[in-house]
């Protein structure tokens, strides 16, 4: 049978009424829990795993799929409306999405996120079905030096998110890199910057930092601007629907986001956060309206949201074909498989084809359901913003601390939340961008470890970094992307630059 026949057969399994009900439950639960800051898809699936013990394999798997995709989707809602990223992959969504919501365009922002997630989920799931074996071969070509080159490219690309002042952007980035050195060094087990406090040995949790800088920092900042009772609500201007112009600007971003997200997600050391950073940088570079970035550009929501969903599907490639769980969520999915005595790996497609294709088909169904469930809900979500500010921010603080308390209720972790919250306030007050701090925390250790791994394998020979054409090409692109704008700007050719950006679209 061909791939296509298998897929049809899988769809046959997935559209049985009982299975559809499981899908609906999974999608609803996933969205509901995924909306909460600090509680991402991994924790959601982990918490709900026991719920599925009693179900049959098909029902269970479709529920996982629903929870997984639902959790990925849910993260964007709070990012956009409340500037509170639910997980690290939604951080860049908050950058433009929240600006749009503040300008009364929360509806279109949520819509482009939902439809973008759908488009990306659809394309990536189909790619998973048809291309998985080939993608895996590509992913295995990536060793430490290639990853290091990719990290360098990501650094350069996301520096597009650094805002107006290079000094302030770099300062934020290095604060993040500094925080990244806290904890046990992954390669030698050496404790760094932990000052004898055992809770610091695990380093700074990304979600703790993100929730503190975004949610707490924002709450403090807004509160400090209120003089007296702020009982007014944010006005909802404009339609909750996307305009024709929104559509025209969104769809290329969805496609580009999917194209970036899927392969990055499929790489063993890739991940949805890196995919979303790269997509944001790409959109900013390709946009005909680069001046809108930072004030609510719809491409900046559409691209990264598509990219993180495509990456989520991409992580299933190494999981299903190699048995490699490359993200926390994939590790939990693996546990879900093992619950039924199945070992994902190279033989899974041969030994349990119905199940694999049932899963892939159920991902498609879950994807459709998410869209059906979420598009009408946008109207309801936007109403959240009409809650008077004291109540709204009190609720945000409750959920922001819930995420941290639920995962690790130690006073040290909560004190970090408090400290970083005030740091976020300070950064906002003096116009330092927030995103580079989090980017530094995520990418810093990855780049450092891949570099040191590459050097260990080559026994200290630095030329190893450009020893393969792929690594050399990636580093070359990164260097060009860094140097070219500098030269053009130095020669006062800013106009040329924006023209190039315009032409390449």
């Amino acid at each position: 049978m061909s791939t296509f026949d298998f897929l049809l057969q899988g769809l046959g399994t997935a559209i049985q009424p009982m299975i559809l009900i499981y899908a609906l439950i999974g999608v609803t639960l996933g969205t509901a829990v995924g909306v909460l800051p600090g509680i991402g898809p991994a924790l959601t699936v982990a918490l709900l795993l026991p719920v599925t013990y009693g179900l049959d394999p098909a029902g269970s798997l479709i529920m996982f799929a629903g929870i997984y995709y639902g959790g990925m989707y849910g993260g964007s809602t709070t990012s956009i409306l409340l500037n509170t990223p639910g997980e690290s992959a939604s951080i860049v969504t908050a950058l433009e999405g929240n600006r749009m919501a503040k300008a009364g365009r929360g509806g279109p922002a949520l819509a482009t996120a939902a439809i973008g997630s759908f488009v990306a989920g659809l394309l990536a799931t189909l790619a998973l079905a048809f291309l998985a074996p080939h993608i895996v071969k590509l992913a295995l070509v990536f060793g430490p030096r290639e990853y290091f080159a990719l990290m360098m490219l990501a650094f350069v690309t996301v520096s597009a998110a650094f805002g107006d002042s290079t000094l302030k952007g770099l300062t934020s980035l290095f604060i993040g890199l500094g925080l990244a050195t806290v904890g046990i060094d992954g390669l030698t087990g050496q404790a760094r910057m932990s000052f004898g406090i055992p809770q610091l040995l695990d380093g700074v949790e990304v979600t703790t930092l993100a929730v503190a800088l975004f949610a707490l920092g924002e709450a403090l900042f807004v509160a400090a601007q209120t003089h007296g009772l702020a009982d007014k609500v944010e006005a909802i201007k404009g339609s909750v629907r996307m305009t024709r112009e929104d559509w025209r600007r969104s769809w290329p971003a969805w496609l580009r986001g999917s194209a970036i997200g899927f392969p990055i997600g499929a790489m063993p050391a890739g991940g949805a956060d890196i995919a979303s950073f790269l997509s944001y940088g790409t959109e900013k570079r390709m946009s005909k309206h680069p001046e809108e970035f930072g004030t609510g550009a719809i491409e900046g929501v559409a691209g990264p949201e598509a990219a993180n969903n495509a990456a989520a599907a991409g992580t299933l490639v190494p999981l299903l074909t190699l048995g490699l769980p490359t993200t926390a969520t994939a590790a939990i999915m693996l546990a879900g498989f093992q619950q039924f005595g199945l070992q994902p790996g190279p033989l899974l497609f041969a030994t349990a084809p119905q199940l694999v294709w049932g899963l892939i088909a159920s991902l498609l169904i879950a994807n459709v359901m998410l869209l059906v469930l979420n598009l009408p809900l946008i109207r309801f979500w936007v109403l959240l913003l009409r809650i008077p500010r004291p109540w709204l921010y009190a609720g945000i603080m409750l959920f922001a601390t819930l995420g941290t308390i639920g995962v690790n209720p130690s006073p040290v972790e909560l004190s970090m939340l408090l400290l970083f919250g005030f740091m976020g306030y300070g950064l906002r007050l003096y116009g330092y961008p927030i995103a580079p701090v989090v980017v530094g925390l995520i990418l810093g250790p990855m780049a450092e470890q891949q570099l040191r791994r590459a050097l260990a394998i080559s026994q200290g020979d630095w030329t190893t970094l450009v020893a393969t054409p792929l690594a050399a090409a990636l580093l070359g692109i990164a260097a060009l992307a860094l140097i070219l704008p500098l030269i053009l700007r130095l020669r006062g050719k800013g106009k040329v630059l924006s023209q190039i950006a315009g032409d390449s679209d």
């Binding site: 002042s165 000094l167 050195t181 760094r192 007296g228 009190a394 601390t401």
Partner: protein, 162 residues
């Protein structure tokens, strides 16, 4: 964003404070790296390399910020009302301090009420019970239904049992 020098009340005091903070934040990893035995092994660079790079970079950025402070203001900062900061910060401190003794619902209810107070709603008789009730519902869902294990206290034990 940079305003003209001398237009503000305090021309560039804030920039010097930021520069000083950055310098301190850069000195910490440098000091820490000096205590790490640099076992680079076959890679040649070990665990102390990255903190050193970051430390020197932060000190360089601190110097640039301080130099820039002579030329103009770092940012135009709107007038800040410090009272809400004390309300919200105090609420967080109380939550952290009391979480394990009085439980999630009561401690988080306090944070809820102080946050509302920070935004001007000082009617604690209303906001405190609402906050505790809301936090309790959240506790019931996450701790009991989803087994997330939030710290319980007398209120949770009383209503839901041990």
């Amino acid at each position: 964003m940079t305003g003209q020098a001398g237009t503000g009340r305090r021309p560039d005091g804030a920039a010097f404070i930021i520069a000083a903070l950055l310098a301190v934040f850069g000195a910490v990893p440098l000091w820490d790296a000096s205590t790490i035995p640099d076992k680079g092994g076959y890679a040649g660079i070990g665990p102390a390399a990255m903190p050193k790079v970051v430390g020197w970079a932060l000190i360089a950025l601190a110097a640039t910020t301080a130099v820039g402070a002579f030329r103009g203001r770092l940012a135009d900062v709107p007038r800040q009302n410090p009272v809400p900061l004390f309300w919200i910060g105090g609420g967080l401190v109380l939550q952290i301090a009391l979480l394990h003794t009085i439980g999630f619902s009561l401690a988080t209810g306090i944070l809820f009420a102080t946050t509302a107070a920070g935004f001007g709603k000082r009617n604690l008789v209303l906001t405190l019970p609402v906050g505790i009730g809301f936090a309790f519902v959240v506790y019931a869902i996450f701790d009991r239904l989803l087994q997330l294990n939030l710290p319980g206290g007398p209120l949770e034990t009383l209503i839901l049992g041990g």
